[in-house]
């Protein structure tokens, strides 16, 4: 079989420097977030300068993905699944329990950065609904409000 030595010229139209730089954004954001636990504005500004892309491009990409955070996050992240299966199995009550115990609304972090409370669309284990994850490592299935209170106390022990 004859192999074409020249790359198809149509491919070249998408292999522009601009496209390559844009493809780099997500990788760079992950590295920044790993270092800082969120995406500090100053870092994003520097990234835009280094990549010679506008800050608008960087923010547009960063704000699209739920995995990227523009605000500092707590040492621990509690994530309540509010997908359909979890919702019908009582996720609203679980979320309310965490909100009360932490005194935070979903999406918020306490000022001392102990904990961030989040919601998620689906974790992918609907059989275990309702589901809560802690630091994306621990998956707690069929959780009750009583268990939720315990988890909250363990994650952020408050002095009596």
């Amino acid at each position: 079989m004859e192999i074409k030595s020249e790359i198809d010229s149509n491919v070249l139209t998408v292999l522009t420097d601009e496209q390559k730089k844009k493809a780099m954004i997500i990788q760079a954001l992950f590295v920044i977030q790993k270092e800082h636990n969120y995406l500090p504005a100053e870092q994003l500004k520097q990234l835009s300068e280094r990549l010679e892309l506008s800050t608008a491009d960087i923010y547009s990409t960063a704000s699209f993905y739920k995995q990227f955070y523009m605000q500092p996050r707590g040492k621990n992240v509690v994530c309540v699944c509010v997908g359909t299966a979890c919702h019908v199995s009582g996720a609203p009550e679980i979320l309310e329990t965490f909100e009360k115990t932490f005194d935070l609304k979903a999406g918020e972090t306490d000022p001392d950065l102990n904990v961030t409370l989040e919601t998620v669309g689906c974790v992918g284990c609907c059989g275990l609904a309702p589901v809560v994850t802690v630091n994306e490592a621990e998956i707690l299935g069929e959780i009750t409000t009583a268990e939720a209170e315990k988890v909250a106390g363990k994650v952020w022990p408050k002095e009596a």
Binding site: S54, T55, A56, Y59, S63, Y65, M70
Partner: protein, 653 residues
């Protein structure tokens, strides 16, 4: 040329080039497919879903803006099903759009209302949900209220397409919105306030601040005009409400698309309201300015003219007919010194060169020019070139300094332009061996540029006026050479003025005559050495401050006439506002002065302008040493353009 495709749209036989989308194809036979998000010259994104059409053999309707023509396609753009579909899509859009049309000033140009009434939908059948919010970003130009946004994305695309890249889509899903990074101000994001985003906004999410509180757009009177602030001479549409100028936008934008205006062109009228508009003649006596009446001012002037040794100067900011009127006045009164300010920076030949259009160029060779939206140096040229390159034209930059457009250029060569042009010219006429093109020496890069030139169908050389002769020498008559002048009607002045002059403009300004009259705003910064100086211009600034008598003059939108723009094309201005009381037109002034001097003036007819505008000698190759040397240095010339920059910058503080 791209091969053509034949298809049928609503029963019309349509033949369009391969790669045309259905929306554009339909337009060629006058079929208007409704659309909210399509932006001409950009790829269709199919976001608004209004442009749905039916195609024979397709299961469901498709969006016309994202579907390319295919041979023998049978397209239906209007049917009961499509009307129902479009109505439902509008119903959804209206469910998140404030139901406050009664208070909205966009009425008259709002695209959403247009379609809502066409498809007979008053209020959404869904409950209204407010998404987005009014943005707090105080500035004198652009008001953003994202509650009205329908997420068509035109503003984001035009901002990116122009290379300004300030606006972006942020977030996702129900939280998706158009904004700036971290809700910062437009100014902090390097916005040039060109207002292109406002221009394309189909609804009231983006609006011009100057027009807020000035009534609904449906009540505006719109008139074609030309921005006279720089050599770009952009065509504009001037909107008045009760004889007051309330809005300026890019002309010929029925589809709200390609026209570009910079902040000065769009908002300049509003910015300059702070300057002192002249409405009565002023005279300086023992160093102090005094208001005077027209009779006294003109009597003093006519007495000066009677003494003889006078000169007249037409600036590039007055219209063709006004230049001819000045020439008529000069002839009748036998004032033989008549010159134009464009001669300060460009040769007569360069200014009278044949017309050419950048819109059709497939190769643009930019010589010695550094247009920049950010620096406010020929911002429209910057935008036009970027738009051409986006549409596939190639760009070659020859300059001695790195340019902003260099990044988009196929070839950028940085060295002394005259020397580069000589080398380029030698290469352009030769057959260039393939092995040279791969090398990276400067000779090889010049050869690469020459190769592009040889391959181009419609190359246009666009140069700083000083390089005109070098450009002509480099390419002979193969492809037009266009100079970019610094004044809007520079080319018009050169074409209208009778040659030859006795004393040239520089000599007149340097004390060649005892009495000098200047019509229009002269390039500031030039020190005029004459015994008695008369200036007629709209504002009390610049050279007027050095004058002995200052006469008020009308602004561009207060007069009717033509200019010859940088591409050598004749453009029309229609009077939109009345001339304010106390202001006289140039013709009125010449007429009254003529009477005082006992001369009879016979104005040239309108068609004299057209006849004069057609006198375009072909470029001639000649020795560079005999070519033109500008009176103002390049730094001085560019500085003049940047003065308006200050006006925009100050207003942002």
């Amino acid at each position: 040329m791209e091969p053509n495709v034949k298809l049928t749209i609503d029963g019309y036989a349509v033949t369009v080039p391969v790669g045309t989308n259905l929306l554009e194809a339909a337009q060629t036979v006058g079929v208007e497919i409704p659309h909210l998000c399509y932006l001409k010259s950009f790829l269709g994104i199919g976001a608004c879903r209004i442009c749905l059409v039916e195609i024979a053999g397709f299961r469901a309707p498709v969006t016309a803006c994202t579907t390319l023509v295919q041979a023998d396609m049978l397209v239906i753009t209007d049917s009961a099903r499509l009307r129902a579909d479009r109505k439902f899509v509008l119903d959804l859009i209206l469910s998140v759009h404030p139901p406050r049309c009664g208070q909205c000033e966009k009425v008259g140009v709002c695209q959403l209302i247009k379609y809502a009434s066409k498809y007979r939908i008053g209020k959404s059948t869904f409950e209204y949900t407010e998404i987005g919010q009014a943005v707090t970003d105080p500035n004198p130009f652009i008001r953003r209220d994202m509650r009205y946004c329908i997420l068509c994305g035109k503003c984001v695309r035009i901002c990116q397409g122009q290379g300004t890249n300030v606006l972006a889509f942020l977030g996702r899903g129900i939280k998706l919105g158009v904004g700036t990074p971290a809700a910062s101000s437009l100014k902090d994001n390097g916005c040039t306030f060109c207002g292109s985003c406002v221009e394309v906004c189909p609804v009231s999410a983006l609006a011009e601040v100057p027009k807020l509180g000035k009534g609904r757009e449906i009540k505006y009177t719109k008139t074609a005009s030309v921005c006279m602030q720089c050599g770009n001479a952009c065509p504009t549409q001037v909107a008045t409400y009760e004889d007051e100028l309330v809005k300026v936008n890019a002309l010929d934008n029925a589809d709200q698309t390609t026209g570009y205006l910079c902040a000065v062109g769009r908002f300049g009228f509003y910015l300059r309201q702070g300057e002192k508009r002249l409405t009565t003649p002023l005279k300086k006596s023992s160093g102090i300015w005094q208001e005077t009446d027209w009779t006294e001012a003109l009597t003093i002037i006519s007495q000066r003219f009677k003494k003889g040794n006078s000169g007249l100067i037409a600036t590039g900011t007055i219209l063709n007919q006004e230049v001819l009127d000045l020439a008529t006045f000069a002839q009748a009164t036998q004032i033989s010194n008549l010159a134009g300010t464009p001669a300060l920076y460009a040769s007569n030949e360069a200014l009278r060169a044949p017309a050419a259009q950048l819109e059709q160029a497939d190769l643009i060779i930019l010589v010695g020019l550094n247009p920049s939206q950010q620096q406010r140096v020929f911002p429209a040229l910057d935008a036009v070139i970027k738009s051409r390159v986006r549409q596939g034209a190639k760009l070659v930059v020859l300059n001695d300094v790195a340019t902003g457009l260099g990044a988009l250029a196929e070839v950028e060569i940085l060295d002394e332009p005259v020397m580069l042009l000589e080398a380029f010219g030698r290469c352009a006429g030769m057959s260039i061996p393939q092995d040279v093109l791969g090398a990276t020496t400067q000779a090889a890069i010049i050869a690469k540029a020459a190769k592009l030139y040889q391959a181009a169908q419609n190359p246009v050389l666009l140069c700083e006026p000083a390089y005109y002769q070098a450009c002509v020498n480099a390419i002979g008559n193969k492809g037009p050479v266009l100079v970019m002048p610094y004044e809007a009607n520079a080319k018009g002045v050169a074409l209208m003025l009778p040659a030859p002059e006795q004393l040239n403009c520089r000599e007149l300004l340097n004390g060649g005559v005892d009495t000098l009259y200047i019509a229009g705003e002269m390039l500031a910064g030039k020190n005029v050495q004459t015994d008695f100086l008369i200036v007629q211009q709209p504002y009390f600034n610049g050279v007027a401050l050095q004058a002995d008598i200052v006469l008020p003059a009308p602004l561009p939108w207060e007069k009717t006439g033509t200019v010859v723009d940088w591409q050598g094309q004749l453009k029309n201005l229609q009077q939109a506002c009345p001339v304010p009381p106390g202001v006289k037109t140039y013709r009125q002034v010449f007429s009254e002065l003529g009477q005082m001097l006992g001369c009879r003036l016979e104005w040239t007819a309108e068609d004299a302008v057209i006849a004069a505008a057609q006198l375009r000698p072909e470029p001639v190759v000649r020795e560079l040493s005999t070519a033109f040397t500008p009176a103002l240095s390049l730094v001085e010339r560019v500085k003049l353009l940047k003065e308006l920059n200050g006006l925009v910058a100050r207003s942002l503080e």
